[in-house]
């Protein structure tokens, strides 16, 4: 293949990669087209002008704006593994279970502040079954089993079981839960107020690490 052909191939691929009346779901996604799309995205990312730099908002400003725009319950979640903090709004409530989402439709599901699952983050927690929940809400010391289920790369939901102990944390009003299993240890911290957990730091899983949850509006 000479250079002219190579250039022509790239032009062809770039020019023709996405010309149809089909939605993104309806096929046409071959390895070659995925490659072409990636190239296109890389090129457009490089050529696109950086957006005019608006003065970055401070954390307080963002919280204030979110509280103003959103009438419903709001939480602020720090994803330690992803290195970002986001304000999430409640999009659904099923009993005590609440689904909060980012504007990009990534979800964190909490039951009265206790982490139940995450969605849309790539290495999600499918569902947590904390056998220690009652102990934590009561602020008691004790032992329990925590099962965390994950969707594996093979498409199967796999349970991981951890042995946990709960006890008072370093600060008054804080309950810590120490868990160990499968060669991993983690520590969840909950600030418990009347059975509710307005502030916490909880382990999501090996892929995402910890999240910190802070209730902005209950």
């Amino acid at each position: 293949m000479n250079k002219a052909h190579g250039a022509m191939a790239l032009t062809l691929l770039a020019a023709l990669a996405a010309c149809s009346n089909q939605g993104p779901d309806e096929g046409g996604s071959t390895p070659a087209s995925v490659l072409a799309r990636t190239v296109q995205q890389a090129v457009s990312a490089r050529t696109a002008d950086p957006a005019p730099a608006a003065a970055p908002k401070s954390a307080q400003e963002r919280v204030a704006e979110a509280l103003r725009v959103n009438p419903g319950p709001l939480i602020q979640v720090g994803f330690e593994g992803l290195g970002r903090t986001q304000i999430m709004a409640m999009t659904g409530q099923n009993g005590a279970m609440r689904t909060y989402m980012t504007p990009a439709e990534e979800a964190v599901i909490l039951r009265d502040g206790m982490l139940v699952g995450t969605k849309g983050l790539g290495r999600d927690l499918a569902v947590a079954e904390p056998g220690t929940e009652a102990l934590i809400r009561a602020g008691q010391s004790g032992r329990g089993t925590r099962i965390m289920r994950y969707l594996g790369g093979d498409g199967l939901e796999r349970p991981l079981q951890f042995d946990c102990t709960t006890g008072p944390g370093p600060n008054p009003g804080v309950v810590v839960e120490d868990c160990a299993g499968h060669g991993v240890t983690f520590q969840n911290s909950y600030m418990v107020q009347g059975g509710q957990i307005p502030v916490s730091r909880q382990w999501v899983g090996p892929g995402l690490g910890y999240i910190t949850v802070q209730t902005l509006r209950p």
Partner: protein
């Protein structure tokens, strides 16, 4: 049946964390390979070890030295069974082509008989290059054991090549069959290797090998022709170093016999280690629980059903919401306490995920009195199964273990009668088109390992009603090196010389050439005649009709230009109950060979070809298919296909066809066989799509055992939403 599968697939036991988290928390399984050999198998440098790869691993190793360039594909089919397919350029040997090298394919199998346990080493038995021409033919028994956590040693006994006693290759043999009578014969010699893991990434290996890199051919006249591969015979000691980087890569360098230097590169993919195991798709809309009875007495009473505008409004809202999830709401039936929706999943590789998202959207769209949800999966217009759920269960079990909602649901054949199903407005007829580039690759041709063609393709489909589809495509080549060429000239017609081809002109000028001297019509061996057209060609133009005459029987009739080389009529029926792992099918085709210009003309050859088929889905993701019937050349026989299918959609399969053509009539390879690979694109990118990267690597394009390549055969079409595959992917229900 359903319950037992459920139990085994959903109530999965606690598994090592490494399975879930992939790299980073690697758990030291002592007998997983540290590096690949030059033959692309777990091993030392040239010698084998008793190590394995993580189950399901699919890898490729390219290894180059003065002796050979080997391209190896390896697959860990079972925890103990490793298979490798190799395409080598062996230097220093000349066959009839007299190039100073040959291209050679070979196939290896290895079975780990016992694992390492206490003082006992792992032990494996293997056969190397046991089909085909046999340049690398050899067998071995090898034991491997960890001496210290860093140092691992292997020792074994080798036969054939591994003993430095290469098998004499019969130049008149068509190859392709196992030479069982030679196995473990001709005298054995020991080999050994030691590897040391310097750190997480680097390992070094030393080995003692008896391979002399020599090949002997028995010619037609009885003479023995012996070649030294490469420049010279190596010594016995080889040394190598391998370095791993990224999640999936490894580079290595090695010295064979102290003088010949080589290098290799490996990429290994494990289906269980997706970068985004749970996918990057947006979170689903959560369940909306119903309001209390006294908060919505009209909704709970079913009074709303009296309003004729209710169903159209609900259907429109649900259809719009489903469209956002990549689901087409084909039709819907709504009564005060039951709703059936027929959905066509266009986005998710797991049908369970489409069903789970649909169920949640139904809780948001339907009035409170509707308690029974029936979600019927339509396979491109053909209803293939129905999942029935109670709305209260969906509300109660949201975001719990997936097995619970599975146990609370029922899978059945889709109801046959359309009853009160109302088609969604403005959906049909449905016209779809796409114009785009194409890249056509031809791999593993003995003379040209890589051929390509690039051009533009327009493709359109017009679905008149669900299941009645007109499809067409037109292709224009831009450039490439896939030129038109006639089939190979049989040696008997060419003064004993093999390897020459008829030119396109010669082939067109003499119609008698379309039958081989053995009397076999050329149904596939002249495939290259269809290549290289510089004017537009029509790869396909068909009208297909899919239907379901009874609840468990599906049918397909396709007419038109069915594929590149054949046009005609193809009809198929399939019996496949939604809850059965067993299926039977029958297909009959009356086709005529298309002209080489790829347009509307036909050649003289016409044939009836067809098969009866049996399909069975075993546990552990194995599916087997047996086809018995008449093939394109009029030969009769059977094809056996065995496929390993992973829950996430990876498929690796092997097939073999034997017909009543003799090995001589069939030609090189003796019978048709090959390997199929298919990887979902979503596995690699994390974005939800049903698209796949698929390829078939078959031995050689021959005329025996050839099948018509008609699109949309029923079995794979209806299976996604039926018992085995649906429950395999059920973990994605709340995804």
């Amino acid at each position: 049946m359903r319950r037992s599968r459920l139990t085994s697939q959903l109530m999965a036991t606690t598994l090592p964390l490494a399975l879930v988290v992939g790299a980073g928390y690697a758990i030291a399984d002592p007998m997983l390979a540290r590096n690949m050999s030059t033959y692309g198998m777990p091993g030392g440098i040239d010698t084998p070890t008793a190590e394995t790869l993580p189950e399901g691993t699919l890898g490729a190793t390219i290894s180059k030295s003065d002796y050979a360039l080997r391209t190896n594909v390896v697959f860990q089919a079972l925890p103990q069974l490793t298979a490798a397919l190799r395409y080598s350029r062996v230097e220093g040997i000349s066959d009839f082509r007299d190039d100073g090298f040959i291209y050679d394919r070979s196939f290896d199998l290895r079975y780990q008989v016992v694992e390492q346990d206490g003082w006992r080493p792992a032990v494996a038995v293997g056969v190397q290059d046991f089909l085909g021409t046999g340049v690398y033919s050899g067998e071995y028994i090898v034991a491997t054991r960890d001496i210290t956590p860093r140092i691992r040693a292997s020792a074994g006994l080798g036969w054939g090549t591994l003993a430095g006693k290469p098998r004499v290759i019969d130049a008149t043999d068509e190859g392709g069959t196992a030479n069982v009578e030679n196995w473990f014969s001709g005298g054995a010699k020991p080999f050994a290797s030691v590897s040391m893991q310097v750190n997480d990434k680097l390992s070094v290996t030393a080995e003692y090998s008896n391979d002399v890199y020599r090949s002997s051919y028995r010619l037609r006249n009885g003479n023995l022709n012996t070649f030294q591969q490469g420049d010279k015979e190596p010594g016995n000691l080889n040394f190598g170093a391998n370095y791993k980087f990224g999640r999936n890569y490894e580079v290595g360098a090695y010295v064979i016999g102290g003088e010949t230097v080589g290098a290799q590169f490996t990429v290994a993919l494990n289906p269980r280690e997706s970068v985004y195991p749970s996918g990057l798709e947006k979170a689903p809309a959560p369940v909306r629980p119903r309001p209390a009875r006294d908060a919505d007495p009209e909704g709970w009473s079913g009074q709303w059903a009296q309003d004729p505008t209710a169903q159209p409004a609900i259907q429109k809202a649900l259809s719009d919401a489903l469209a956002g999830e990549g689901q087409l709401l084909e039709s819907m039936a709504l009564s005060p306490n039951r709703a059936e929706v027929r959905i066509r999943n266009q986005r998710y590789i797991q049908q369970a995920q489409a069903i789970g998202r649909t169920a949640r959207l139904m809780t948001r769209a339907l009035p409170p009195s509707v308690e029974t949800f029936v979600i019927t999966s339509s396979a491109d217009g053909v209803p293939a199964s129905s999942v029935t759920l109670r709305r209260s269960d969906v509300e109660r079990l949201e975001n719990t273990e997936a097995g619970k909602i599975a146990a609370a649901s029922a899978l059945s054949d889709a109801p046959l009668r359309r009853g009160d199903l109302t088609m969604t407005e403005d959906l049909f007829p449905r016209f779809r088109w796409r114009v785009g580039p194409y890249l056509d690759l031809g791999l593993f041709d003995p003379e040209e390992p890589l051929r390509y063609e690039v051009g533009a393709e327009a493709r359109a489909s017009y679905e008149i009603t669900p299941g009645l589809v007109l499809t067409g495509a037109i292709k224009q080549r831009a450039f490439g090196d896939k030129e038109q060429r006639g089939p190979g000239i049989p040696a008997s017609e060419n003064g004993g010389v093999r390897g020459d081809h008829y030119t396109a002109e010669e082939y067109l000028a003499d119609p008698s050439l379309e039958t081989t001297p053995e009397g076999v019509p050329r149904v596939r061996s002249d495939t290259r005649m269809y290549s290289g057209n510089t004017s537009p060609v029509i790869p396909e133009l068909t009208l297909a009709w899919f239907a379901r005459p009874t609840e468990q029987v599906y049918s397909r009739v396709t007419v038109g230009l069915l594929e590149q080389a054949y046009g005609g009529v193809s009809a198929e029926v399939l019996w496949k109950p939604a809850n059965s792992p067993l299926a039977f099918g029958a297909e009959v085709n009356r086709v005529r060979k298309r002209d080489f210009d790829g347009l509307f003309d036909f050649r003289d050859y016409e044939v009836t070809t067809g098969h009866v088929s049996a399909y069975y889905e075993f546990s552990q993701g194995f599916t087997a298919q047996l086809d018995v019937g008449q093939y394109l050349a009029g030969d009769k026989g059977a094809t056996v296909t065995l496929t390993r299918e992973f829950e996430n959609g990876w498929r690796v399969g092997a097939f073999a066809t034997k017909t009543d053509l003799s090995a001589e009539e069939f030609g090189e390879g003796s019978f048709d066989k090959g390997i199929t690979l298919s990887i979902p694109i979503s596995w690699a990118t994390g974005t939800p799509t049903r698209d796949r990267a698929s390829t078939t690597i078959r031995s050689l394009s021959r005329d025996g055992g050839a099948r018509l390549e008609v699109n949309d055969r029923l079995y794979d079409k209806v299976r996604d939403s039926q018992t085995v595959k649906l429950y395999q992917g059920w973990g994605s229900f709340w995804r």
